[in-house]
Symmetry: C2
Subunit: 433 residues, 2 copies
């Protein structure tokens, strides 16, 4: 008998039919002989509706009260799921974050999990019950207050429960049936991966892939939790996210796992990202400490800088240009902050460009395979796409391009790395609700 | 500095405007120098909407899960009220039933309060905060599960908090501005009472008056809590509900409290009730134990019998008729149960009558004043209304009439006991939302 943790998102439990469908899936897992623990999100748009209500009564809602408010969303969905299971003749019990022992720090709205003490869940499992837990919420021991985990909170709840209960697998259900080599809405020939390493998944998620939240993948990697990303609307296997060592061992044992697509799985996937803007600081005095000065100002504005490129200094002027990328919605604050200190820093001008796109290729195989960047640049060159910035990690190469070129560039690169599947992955985009 | 407990019902917090209006009232009480603890119901129709959702996913929802579901309603309203107060510059903290120390038995859906340990509320008050508590919900220590208190639960929460915190008064806000001598929709000349004894209030509530729940009044009476029933939509004083001794002392000290209406306050009010049906069991063998047999059957069907009348036995047949009243919606189950045992009991026939009405006059003064029943019967006789059944308690006389006669009879009786006010109480029915 395995212990399975499942997580269902808001779109999976958006209405009574969705809840009954989810309940049936849970019961099926139980019928197959497994212990089942389930983390659920709030129904559909509940969280947004509650946020709207809060905005109507208070311009800046008190964070403690906002968490109290939002945590009611998962209470509703979890109780309904438990009832639906009950009415199918199975014992089910729902637990709030605090009842489930999800202990967090006191940072309302973005609390970090500091401990998981699932004593009541173990008792319920021992008594043969299916356990339903409110995702997204926790409890601070010092203040004894309800907290919420912030974006991607329910995924994190599921992974944290899987870790604390030493579950065999953490199944994360959504309206997408797994992790693809690229976004199939952009690249119809993208194919679903059977397995991906958590390191690769982290890089893909950090660079535009949307199926799993970075935070949950990170937690899973640190605690050795195996994630299975799959669809609520299909019984097909999804994608296993496991650590790199386990992935390599699996590949050695079951070469067929990679399918014919992946005889040389140097690159696991291609991620595209339209969400960034580029700021170029022109004519920065080429003096030690100037870059630090600039990025201190940007950091104080609250912006999260991604890529940075500094031009080679022009000897004649003693000045250089520094470009960096950041999320589009953070650009105006950063620009304002820099402009306010132009005299102190001594730069000449600021250029803002929100028509860029970022393309990343990710693959653990890069560690041991040279030539990845050559293949990437060659493919882009053949496609006639100009590269504006480059950054690399151990298992990723990212380039900034014109936004208009991004989709075409991604298709060319996907083909160049041998990732194209045999059939179009049209199903990917079509299953959303 | 007084400690005031306030309770706001669902219609008072039905939307953002309502929540802001309630928040302002609470802040006003705080500004006036009081410590304030507030119990709130779920917003508007939230509870009904949650019940509908439950019915969609499970024909008979598991009681534990239903309580988990329903308890989310008050979390939403209390967090919003706390936020709204916060944004007016006052410190407010919301607490769930379990955080507030509302300990109940484990009877899901209709839990009884067994203890109130408001430790966190005292701490918050000591720190200068306004305290907002979820009405209607509690927590069972043994199962560690969330419970709900059932009908009138939020009123009971407020009164129980007032008792545990030794509050000076428990203000129960609704869309009605106090307790009237009768339902002003039926009797426009009904007038608002400044004070009523809890014993009288209990009899009125048990016999059709709707402003306060019996259970909350009973709890208040047992624990010496003073209730002040008043309107969310007006700053006028409402009606104080206090125990009879206190009421008598008050009347002696402040005769003007009773106003000119009540120089002889024998009768406090007239209650009307259209919600009952009458069942008559015809031809019951006049043998010891037959009545017991019949009412055992009725009780097993789940019906709550109110009035009982047994005819004088006809010597010729050795048989008698027994009539009783019960809530209309319980009549069919009771009839079915009786019919099933007709042979055993040996009665001849069953008659069901759902066109009856019940009129009650209530007044603590009855204890020391004779002639109340004479005045009542005389008034009904002058009005040409036939009496079908009579029952009495120490401070109440109830009669069953034709339902069609009830309103006219109530007006006649209200006048006969000198209860008519000088102006129509039209405001009573007009303020609902």
């Amino acid at each position: 008998m395995a212990l399975i943790v499942q997580k269902y998102g808001g779109s999976s439990v958006a209405d009574a039919d969705g809840i009954k469908r989810v309940a049936k899936r849970i019961v099926d897992a139980r019928r197959a002989g497994n212990d089942v623990v389930v983390a659920v999100s709030a129904m559909g748009d509940t969280t947004d509706e509650l946020l709207d209500l809060a905005a109507e009564v208070a311009p800046i809602p008190a964070p403690r009260e906002l968490d109290m408010l939002l945590s009611s969303g998962e209470r509703i969905s979890m109780a309904l799921v438990a009832m639906a299971i009950h009415s199918m003749g199975f014992e089910a019990r729902s637990f709030t974050g605090s009842q489930a022992g999800m202990i967090t720090d006191a940072h309302h709205g973005a609390a970090r999990i500091v401990d998981v003490t699932p004593i009541r869940l173990r008792e319920a499992l021992d008594e043969g019950a299916i356990v339903i837990v409110a995702g997204f919420q926790g409890f601070n021991r010092d203040t004894r207050d309800i907290t919420t985990l912030g974006r991607g909170g329910s995924d994190t709840t599921a992974v944290a429960l899987a870790a604390a209960l030493d579950a065999d697998v953490c199944e994360i259900y959504s309206d997408v049936d797994g992790i693809y080599t690229a976004d199939p809405r952009v690249i119809p020939k993208a194919h679903k991966l059977d397995v991906i390493s958590s390191e690769e998944m982290l890089e893909l998620a950090a660079n535009g892939a949307k199926v799993l939240y970075i935070r949950a993948v990170e937690y899973a990697r640190r605690h050795g939790v195996i994630i299975h990303a799959r669809s609520t609307f299909s019984s097909a296997e999804g994608t296993l996210v496991i650590d790199e060592k386990a992935r390599r061992a699996l590949s050695d044992l079951f070469p067929q796992l990679q399918g014919e697509h992946m005889e040389e799985p140097v690159v696991a996937g291609v991620a595209t990202d339209h969400s960034q803007a580029k700021i170029t600081v022109i004519g920065v005095p080429d003096v030690t400490g100037k870059a630090a000065e600039i990025f201190k100002i940007v950091a104080r504005s609250g912006a999260n800088v991604d890529m940075i490129v500094q031009n080679i200094s022009a000897a004649a002027t003693g000045r250089t240009d520094i470009s960096f990328t950041l999320p589009k919605e953070e650009a105006s604050l950063a620009l304002r902050a820099l402009a306010a200190e132009q005299a102190d820093v001594g730069f000449e001008n600021l250029i803002h460009d929100d028509q860029i796109g970022k393309l990343s290729v990710v693959g653990a195989g890069m560690r041991t395979n040279s030539g990845v960047s050559a293949t990437l640049f060659e493919a882009l060159s053949v496609a006639g796409v100009n590269i504006e910035m480059i950054s690399t990690s151990e298992i990723r190469i990212s380039v900034v391009l014109r936004g208009d070129d991004l989709d075409e560039a991604a298709r060319a690169v996907h083909t160049a790395f041998g990732l194209d599947g045999e059939i179009d992955a049209a199903v990917y985009a079509g299953t959303g609700r």
